[in-house]
Amino acid sequence: MHLPDGFLSPQLSLPALAVAAPLAAWGARRHFGREAAESLPVLGTLTALAFVVQTIMIPVPGGTSTHLVGMTLLALLFGPLAAFTCEGLVLLLQALFFGAGGVTVLGVNALAMGLLGPLAGWLAWRLLRRLSERAALFVAGWLSTQVATLSVVAVLALQHRLDPLLFPVAPAVTLAAMMVPSLSVAGLVEGLYTVFAFSLVRRANLRGVEA
């Protein structure tokens, strides 16, 4: 799901950066600031955990692989803006040090994996948690993955329409190649991860965690 440099034109990457940068600044002020000092150790630990789970490749039948994002958990515990800010940091490190995802497309990657996905998961959890908390957590993780993946598919499809030379793969092929692993494996694993990690964090009764 990490788009590399060179696949998107400035027509798409620049507006995404223009939206992501002020959002990240707002998120940093709100969640990394003095008022949030108490929650910083837990936020830092979960960000580090998300960084680790994103490096673990899960093989998918057909020769490809996928990975967890781990940001739905942060969205449920601290809000979608915290998840976005932390994912921005994770993606920046991955792009700068490891070449996983591009620097110019940081805005697109952060908005998809850090904001739209976790926001959808957070909304689903808020809506369903009274019915069954475990089911709500699972759906939040699963839906978050689908929305993040669909966002990336939409951006790639738009890029194909704008300039097929930059991304020559037809939207239908991209949709199938990304959504099949997302629906069959990545979403399920993210859902299970969210259920277990959320339960563990709540049981630990950590300082600075309100959920």
Binding site: P4, G6, F7, R34, G44, V52, L89, T174, M178
Partner: protein, 158 residues
């Protein structure tokens, strides 16, 4: 009759020669690039495009990586060649390969690239060290924030 046979033979030999396909084997003339994931898994049978520095708007060649993630091309001149490996999932590579001089192509390529198997540094130690480095940076950022806010004291209660 013999003359006629000679004329027919000569006429048939012309097209036959024109359709003959020849080949040339030049070791070390091409450039090879291997695309692989951070855990060392190759990007196998994935479409790639190569752009020459002389014509950056049109692919010089296209194809599929092999089962070990390798692609190869033969640059026809020096300069910065662009190699793109594009997975339908949006993963891939977009890199520049400097080709100094036609004679120096072999020198620009890795000395002895492995034909198959894991890439050195991709799995093993690098696979462990890279996440550790990331963890260290994240730990450093949050520790610095916690220490900074502790030093300045808590925010006044509203």
């Amino acid at each position: 009759m013999r003359r006629l046979a000679l004329v027919v033979a000569a006429l048939l030999a012309g097209p036959a020669l024109a359709h003959e396909t020849l080949h040339q084997v030049v070791p070390g003339r091409g450039l090879a690039v291997r695309a692989y994931e951070s855990d060392g898994d190759p990007l196998a049978l994935v479409p790639f495009e190569v752009y020459s520095p002389a014509e950056p708007g049109r692919p010089w060649t296209t194809g599929l990586t092999d089962r070990d993630g390798w692609l190869a091309f033969v640059p026809n001149g020096p300069g910065r060649w662009r190699v793109r490996v594009i997975e339908p999932t949006g993963h891939g590579l977009d890199l520049s390969v400097d080709v100094p001089l036609p004679a120096g192509i072999a020198a620009a390529a890795p000395a002895a690239p492995p034909a198959a198997g894991p890439i050195e540094g991709a799995g093993g130690v690098a696979f462990v060290l890279r996440p550790l480095l990331g963890l260290a940076v994240i730990g450093l950022v949050f520790t610095a924030l916690v220490l900074a806010w502790r030093k300045k004291g808590r925010a006044p209660s509203p």
